[in-house]
């Protein structure tokens, strides 16, 4: 992984990052239930902001507020320094914030190029002869995917025949082509194997190098750390911290994610119930004291 890490982080040393989106003490409550509160972070052009947290930590509530699907009940959302509220995902999209959801919003049985342009098809001619510009769409799809490093011989194949990683990349390429400035990726590596995850991480790095601000949601610190510039850690609806890469190591990140203190108490618990000589308890104890 070492050579890869160097390649991923080395290419984009900039003097002063431009902030596209900033969130200040943002929060969301449903009636009396506080889903999320006091979250602050920034998304800079050409940088990756990773949002880490376990299931139920509030990751999806957070991205839904960024993507315009939920309006925050407290705090501020700033776009290019100006406070904004997005009334719908479409409004967020128009402001250049595109979200690639876990299900990718692709239609498996449709050809790659039709999926790429779905909802924003290019047409030529007019009146009853207004028709799809198939040639142009195929060419653009091929080029755009080529820019992402995917070489498809045949953009006519159903997108369902591509691998999970490739499909993820088509969805990313599509968002980039249609003018995204900020790309929100909802757990893009969650359902993928090790190799496919590597491919997706590479495309995240590539989108970042094209100057996009990337929000990378994941629960895997080993995926986040190589590509991330900033790490927002969520736990049970609150922020555990918003770190620059220089402020935190992979070990600390992992430990925070796993909840170091909780792990220690779990080890204690296991020791009591299973006896001190239990392998599992010893293992958890070692893990807890490691960082």
């Amino acid at each position: 992984m070492t050579t890869e890490t160097a390649a991923m982080t080395g290419a984009h040393e900039t003097s002063k990052p431009v902030t596209i989106v900033e969130v200040r003490n943002i929060g969301k409550s449903y009636g009396a239930v506080n889903a999320l509160s006091g979250i602050s972070t920034t998304v800079n052009a050409g940088q990756v902001t990773c949002v880490l947290g376990d299931n139920g930590a509030g990751k999806s509530t957070f991205i839904k507020m960024l993507a315009g699907a939920h309006t925050p009940s407290e705090g501020e959302l700033l776009l290019d320094g100006n406070p904004v509220t997005f009334s719908s995902p479409r409004a967020a999209l128009q402001a250049g914030i595109a979200t690639v959801y876990q299900d990718l919003a692709v239609v498996p049985l449709m050809p790659v190029w039709r999926n790429f342009f779905l909802g924003s098809e290019i047409t030529k001619g007019w009146g009853p002869l207004k028709r799809l510009d198939v040639k142009a769409m195929k060419r653009i799809t091929q080029t755009e995917l080529g820019n992402m490093g995917i070489d498809l011989r045949d953009v006519d194949q159903p997108i369902g025949t591509l691998s999970g990683g490739e499909r993820q990349c088509v969805a990313i390429a599509r968002a980039v082509y249609f003018g995204a400035r900020v790309l929100i990726l909802d757990e893009p590596t969650a359902a993928l194997g090790v190799k496919q995850s590597g491919v997706v991480l590479k495309y995240i790095a590539r989108s970042r190098d094209q100057g996009l601000g990337v929000v990378f949601i994941t629960h895997n610190p080993h995926h986040a750390y190589p590509v991330g510039d900033r790490f927002l850690l969520l736990n049970r609806g609150t922020s555990l911290g918003n770190f620059e890469k220089s402020e935190i190591s992979l070990g600390e990140l992992t430990s925070l994610m796993a909840g170091g203190a909780e792990l220690a108490s779990l080890a204690h618990e296991l020791e009591r119930s299973m006896g001190p000589e239990s392998d599992i308890a010893a293992e958890v104890g070692r893990e807890a004291s490691k960082n």
Binding site: V107, L109, M110, V134, T161, K195
Partner: protein, 347 residues
Amino acid sequence: MTTTDIVTIATRPRLERRPIRKILSRPEVGAFVAALAVLLFFSLYTPQFLSMAGAGVWLESASTFGIMAVAVALLMIGGEFDLSAGVMTGFSALIVGILTTHYGLSIWVAVFISLVTCLGVGALNGFLVMKTGLPSFIVTLGTFFALAGIDLAVTKIITGQVAIQGMTNVPGYDSIQPLFGSSLAVGGGNFYISVLWWFMVTAVATWILLRTRAGNWIFAVGGAQTASRQIGVPVFKTKIGLFMGTAGAAWLVGMISLFRTSTVQANTGVGQEFIYIICAVVGGCLMTGGFGSAIGAALGALIYGMVFQGITFAQWDTNWLRTVLGAMLLAAVLLNNFVRTRAGGGR
């Protein structure tokens, strides 16, 4: 993982798809092969099948089913069913029949009113399906029975009979009849204009499906509705349009049968809705939506027409027709299923 690994994966060449395999993955291939086989079989079995006279008969038989099958295929690609499509062919003709013979309305106006009413019922079907979230199978089963009842009851209340009579005496009948019911004699065969309508509907539907934005949306809403909505496809509009499409086709078929026979029974079209679906499925449409072709559905109807008339020409008991259709449907579904598992792999 090393850099080399990642580069290898990303630049790995795809398996070259042989052209033959590409052709075989088209939805209408199965129907095309089957149509050829049926044609060949009956041509060898009965001499008059491949004559001009014979062709005129089975093309006519296929044409009205073809028009409906194509519209139903579009709807099925869009992920919905319309069980009211069959009874609507009778409904549209009855409207014209009653308005002209009983209320003395101008025949052109009556035909227009019939069209608007059918499109309205189609839009209602779509609206109910989209607003209630119920399966279209149930919603249109409801409109099917409602319309079937209306057809019988209203016809009987107004005319006192269960069929329309005296259409030929309606003023202006001759001005509109050629449009829907005329025929042309070529080399001993009688070719109805409905065959031309069938070809036109198939051509237009194919154009819409493959070369317009609407076609893209039809495949999308049938293949993955949530995803389509997320990406900005007007799902509601597309589906309403599709239901109005089958209703419009039903109106056309209603006019064709009315002006060809100059009469219409109150139970016309009942029971034919499943034949349309069978034709569409034999033509390569997936029951689950998102895949299919208009040409395939037209071929499915052609097969139906050839089998139907072939059995008659061969002087077999025509009751076997349904058995043949059932067997064909099963074979087609198995073939389609195979195609889908291959195309949707990795899902």
